[in-house]
């Protein structure tokens, strides 16, 4: 084998690679929508993935949600006490947890736990030629592996996000109850009194978008893993870093859109 003269780049090697990567990610996402709507649908694998993803993240989300509820309550109380407004604590917690913390914390935990898992699993399948083995057996690996996983994260993460918010509010309630002896019913009534329909839909929309992002980035990184076992680690790592970054960008965009809708 012979190497010819050095390759010419359109811009620079780095920029070329960057735009090549962006284009590939776009094509990968477009392929997802194209294939998700076509038969056959692997319902059994989808249910299996929902179960796996939910189960994988559940203990960590329970613990984190509970701790966040307690810590956020403890940190908010002194500021409200200064204004004599501790009775507003449940409302404040309701807004903060349901609108912002629940979906965001769930997404960050899932990008670490689920996104890295998907990246590593598919990356390992890629470098050990298991994906090629599916391909040559006339099985569409994109449909079987990617579509099911992305749909599973898109379905499961909103459910986990709702669960995280409930657990965090229970943590908050325990703290509020121990300090002010507030009843369970009054706490939750006050917590949800300032949350309207748009707030709830914004939270759901955020969780859906975050779930899709975690799934598609994990799959993209895993599906394109190279260079043996080190490539698997790299795929898992990049899946986490990139999905976390994009989740924060999406958070800003969705909040802005929600505020814009609120003005009508």
């Amino acid at each position: 084998m012979k190497r010819t003269t050095s390759r010419k780049y359109v811009l620079t090697k780095r920029l070329d690679n960057y735009f090549y990567g962006v284009n590939n990610a776009y094509l990968f996402t477009a392929d997802f929508f194209k294939q998700a709507l076509r038969r056959p649908f692997h319902f059994k694998e989808l249910v299996n993935q929902c179960y796996e993803i939910g189960l994988r993240a559940l203990p960590l989300i329970t613990l984190t949600g509970f701790i966040i509820g307690i810590v956020f309550t403890k940190q908010s109380r002194p500021s409200l006490e200064d204004f004599g407004a501790t009775s507003w604590l449940p409302s404040l917690l309701g807004i903060a947890i349901v609108k912002a913390l629940g979906p965001l914390v769930t997404a960050l935990i899932c990008s670490g736990k689920v996104g890295s898992g998907i990246g590593a699993e598919l990356g390992s399948m890629k470098v050990t030629e298991q994906i090629d083995a599916m391909e040559v057996s006339a099985i569409n690996p994109f449909k079987y592996l990617v579509v099911t996983r992305v749909l599973a994260t898109t379905i499961t993460i909103p459910i986990l996000s709702f669960y995280c918010s409930v657990v965090a509010l229970i943590g908050s309630y325990i703290n509020v109850h121990s300090e002010e002896n507030t009843s369970f019913v009054i706490f939750f009534k006050n917590a949800f009194s300032t949350i309207n329909f748009l707030d709830l839909w914004t939270a759901v929309a955020k969780a859906v978008v975050f779930g899709f992002t975690i799934g598609i980035i994990g799959c993209y990184k895993g599906f394109n893993a190279t260079q043996g076992t080190s490539g698997v680690g790299k795929a898992a790592n990049e899946a986490v870093v990139m999905s976390m970054f994009i989740i924060f960008v999406e958070e800003i965009v969705i909040v802005q859109i929600s505020n814009w809708i609120r003005t009508f």
């Binding site: 084998m1 399948m125 030629e129 083995a133 040559v136 057996s137 006339a138 099985i139």
Partner: protein
């Protein structure tokens, strides 16, 4: 070498003409041509990194050629749409170098998976019968419940071959079937390749750098050197030639 099977030289199952493939600046295949006839086993020999595996990946449609023509069972592989390619792939068995068994599935599920995905209307009884048949063919009936991680290298190769046989392929592509195995297991795998050919009447391309495997399984051998076939023919014809590159490969193989 004794050939027990019948080769039909009038029927070409794979025809490769003037095939080129590069990866960036790296020119791997530079004008490769090859014909595989029905019932024939061709062994493609060559040092590591000479593009042997690339050749069978192009045949199975995993890679696209830069130039040249690959016709498999009368169809031009690089011009097929995904659905047509998948229909063709049902007739091609691909045994990977590292077996590529699905880690998350046990042996039975590994074998069932391609069948159930391609023929979802099959009954459980039919699937079980097919699994029984192929697992018996590779002699590992007692390993159905095991996970791939608990199998030895030779057992993994056998299960990999069984997984391809379950779809009843007309063509078998073996990528380094004896790589990383001890000499006894190598002999068993060579025997299995011949048994598969006789029982399932397949035509095969066997990629290897192992001369023992080449001699035991090939009706014909072709040596890939520097992106081109240096010589093709019967094993003894090829290695009795005065071509320096072939002699070098022969010596390299035994030194290795």
């Amino acid at each position: 070498m004794e050939t027990l099977h019948v080769i039909d030289y009038n029927e070409t199952v794979i025809s490769i003409k003037d095939l080129y493939k590069s990866f960036g600046d790296l020119h791997v295949l530079k004008g490769v041509s090859l014909d595989l006839h029905k019932g024939e086993n061709i062994v493609v020999l060559g040092k590591s990194g000479t593009g042997k595996s690339v050749l069978i990946k192009i045949i199975s449609g995993l890679l696209k050629p830069d130039k040249g023509e690959v016709i498999v069972l009368g169809k031009k592989v690089d011009e097929l749409k995904r659905k047509e390619l998948n229909e063709l792939r049902l007739h091609i068995g691909f045994s990977f170098q590292n077996s590529a068994l699905y880690d998350s599935m046990n042996v039975r599920r590994n074998l069932e998976f391609p069948l159930m995905m391609n023929y979802p209307k099959l009954t459980k009884k039919e699937v079980d019968a097919a699994v029984e048949e192929v697992i018996e063919a590779v002699g590992l009936k007692n390993k159905l419940k095991e996970m791939p991680a608990s199998l030895s290298g030779g057992q993994r190769k056998r299960i990999g071959i069984a997984r391809t046989l379950i779809l009843k392929p007309k063509i078998m592509l073996y990528d380094e079937p004896t790589a990383g195995l001890d000499p006894i297991t190598c002999t068993e795998i060579n025997q299995l390749i011949n048994e598969v050919q006789e029982k399932y009447n397949t035509s095969s391309i066997i990629i290897t750098h192992d001369l023992t495997c080449a001699k035991a399984t090939g009706d014909k051998v072709a040596i890939l050197i520097d992106g081109q076939f240096a010589k093709a023919g019967k094993f003894d014809e090829v290695f009795n030639s005065n071509n320096e590159l072939i002699k070098e490969f022969y010596n390299y193989n035994f030194i290795q």
